[in-house]
Symmetry: C3
Amino acid sequence: MIKRFSVETTSRNQMIGITALVEDIVSESGVDHGLCLIQSLHTTAGLTVNENADPHVCADILARLTEIVPFEKAYQHSEGNSDAHIKASLVGFSESLFVDDGALVLGTWQGLYLCEFDGPRRRHVIVKVVADS
Amino acid sequence: MIKRFSVETTSRNQMIGITALVEDIVSESGVDHGLCLIQSLHTTAGLTVNENADPHVCADILARLTEIVPFEKAYQHSEGNSDAHIKASLVGFSESLFVDDGALVLGTWQGLYLCEFDGPRRRHVIVKVVADS
Amino acid sequence: MIKRFSVETTSRNQMIGITALVEDIVSESGVDHGLCLIQSLHTTAGLTVNENADPHVCADILARLTEIVPFEKAYQHSEGNSDAHIKASLVGFSESLFVDDGALVLGTWQGLYLCEFDGPRRRHVIVKVVADS
């Protein structure tokens, strides 16, 4: 069964932690051992894993991505948000994680993030928890 | 069961929409609810999700990737296509999507693309549709 | 069942081939047809697929990533390794591959790599092989 949640972003570029939201879905699924797949339904907002402790890491990721793919570049796409499309393809739109003993498996410092590159907006994420057969 | 299809690319850098090809495989699988995994079998052509409406978005993605990873850079790899290897690792080689009610789940503006970085060539993609247990 | 292995890296930036380690896990699983998911448990080391023949390709990938995301940049994160966090999010932390006839499915030139961006360190990778239902 596909579960869905929404996130309200508040800046043009923003990484919002969604680990707890996904952990709740894993918990409610009742699955002890399996996989958890997470997908962004957008083309200007992606998903990534990164450090869950110091928020400066997310700030550094966003700042460097904006240097690599600047907003002010001349792009063909008339909506003026090609930078957001490019950044999202660089971080990717989905994550595949493991479920073990009823919990999402992440490294000690790993957190899951929605990466907003064209906010503020309401963003939609879908999640599926699949039990081992 | 693994399904396979080929795509003939016509430029060195090119994004070719493969959503319909993958949707056909999902439809033929008869799976109503499950996962669809897609993998590029190459090291100089990857896969990504991005906008399915304005083709300028793909042109902007390719142009910016070529600025980030220029063809003319001095590389050690003697085949002269290291830029293509690097770009492919940046966008990635596989996608994991959901199947619901017999259809591939994509956001309104999402399409699936083969990203050619060393064409023109014939490229091979494999697809597996897995039913929920 | 989740399997785990460790890799000792010896440089700050390094791509270490892990295809054989993952192939061993697939073989021991006894699964003939299914999926193989691989996840890095870190935030400064990722995973990617790329060329398995000429090691110059990996050297070129690492060199170019370091030009795109330089070590010496001014970052907010006090540990001084933000470049490693950013590179890892660019290549990604997980791979989803297929298993067919008891073997991992990779293209002719494809190999699987752990991408170390903040070594030398001991790194942990987890793997799950899921049989088709």
